[in-house]
């Protein structure tokens, strides 16, 4: 797995962050306050998680008055969209398993 994907995967590995990101995907732009009210964690914690998502390119912030609005950046998922690299890894492993099986099989 290329290192460039690591930040993306790691930022989505945390269930709370994933829930925040999914909510932004589902419901569109939200303020930190909106997100906090349904997240079950404190506002500073939500802000911290949003910072991680922002650094991974998964969300964008927009300042308006005293409020900061966050929105999901689906384009950041582009590296994951390339199914060919995923399937390549999948099939290489399956070929290994197939070869192992052939060694064990009777003629």
């Amino acid at each position: 797995m290329p290192n460039a994907h690591d930040a993306l995967f790691r930022s989505l590995a945390d269930p709370t962050r994933r829930a925040l990101f999914e909510r932004l995907c589902r419901e569109g732009e939200q303020t930190v306050g909106d997100l906090t009210s349904q997240s079950g964690v404190s506002q500073p914690a939500v802000s911290k998680h949003l910072g991680v998502l922002r650094r991974a390119g998964l969300v964008r912030d927009r300042h308006e008055g005293r409020q900061t609005h966050y929105s999901a950046q689906l384009g950041a998922l582009t590296p994951l969209i390339d199914w060919t690299s995923q399937m390549n890894g999948f099939w290489q492993t399956r070929f290994d398993h197939l070869e192992d099986l052939l060694k064990r099989m009777d003629q």
Partner: protein, 136 residues
Amino acid sequence: MSDPATETRSVVIEREMPFPPEKIWRALTQPHLIEEWLMKNDFKPQVDHRFRLSADWGGVDCRVMAVEPNKTLAYTWEAMGLESVVTWTLTPASTGTHLRMEQVGFRPDQERAYQGAQFGWQRFLGNLDEVLARLD
């Protein structure tokens, strides 16, 4: 601009196997053997037979497209929004068999799927766990 409807992508894996084609054919077409290297399944080597490959993370819906014993096997492969065709080709070689797998997918379907329309974020993100397990 190219016509997006005809735009495809493919994955090709080729390997020399030190075994005769007949033996590899058995591993590719007998359900209890397929299960050992690929996934649980209800495969039958009959054109138009629909079968499902199933795993912990979900499954793949397939339909047999071509069966030419010891030479060619092709089936559709639909999973997580990806519509594709997997074709196996067995060619006798001096050391055994040259085994080739080509998976061809249709880009527009794949893209539409990943945009979430048919796919659902939950399902998508659920698969991340598996990817993560391989990261370190």
